[in-house]
Amino acid sequence: MWRQRCHSSNRANSGRASLEFLVAGIVLFVPVMWASVVLFEIQKASMATDAAARHAVRVFTQSTSLDSAGRRAERAVSRTLGDFGVATPHQITVECQPRSLCLSPTSWAVVTVRTDVPLLGIPALPLSTPWAVPVDGTAAAQVSMYRGIP
């Protein structure tokens, strides 16, 4: 009795097995593709913030006044992020060591560039979610010992 019931129910289902396998397999690839798109966005943002921080710290320490240094570093960061195709808003933090002697010879400057990479940030889809991965890059440089001496 049991064998017969089992047999008949198998017969009814047997034709769909490969179709289910195919559809399930393709559907399971959607999150894989989504994850790879998001991971590449994060990789891009990681490279961009790192490059922007290194460029900005160089520009900052080569400047002659604190005012122009900040402005030029800001411009360097937005240019770099734009070159890498990172369009999300960013924050720049400049920390001087020692704190009171910004841009004085042999002092250090530490620039941190930070941006948030949105999950579901697929360019073709106008979707946005509150979830984002913060990505930052930090670079440090020393102001030349001979700065200000022509």
Binding site: R11, S14, G15, A17, S18, F21, L22, G25, I26, F29, V32, M33, S36, F40, Q43, K44, M47, A51, R54, H55, R58, V59, Q62, S63, T64, S68, R72, R79, T80, D83, F84
Partner: protein, 129 residues
Amino acid sequence: MSRRFDSRRGNAPAEFVLVGALLVALALAVIHAALVIHVRHILHASAWEGARYASYYGTTLGDGQALTIRLINEALSESYSLDVSVTEASVAGAPGVHVHVRAPVPTLGLWALGGDLSVEAALPLEQPG
């Protein structure tokens, strides 16, 4: 006899193989697309790094080219750094440096048959002030 020649039962392993092959092909396509994007990101970052280095006061265009080639060699392979050109160019109205990398598209892993993956980076030269 009827069980042996039931077409729906007999096809299952064959269908499994066919569908499995299709899904494996899809998986390989996804992995390969990811690899191409990765290679493109690496090439762009290396080109940009070379442009940044070449835009400094004390460095030449050749230094930037050498840095780009070294970065690509370390991250990918030497067959991707064969065509790296660094030239002087005007960037947003200011004198600058322009790096252009042409590399093959990876075909099987990093082994490449041909194709043309082209990335460029440009930066203005360092200005006093």
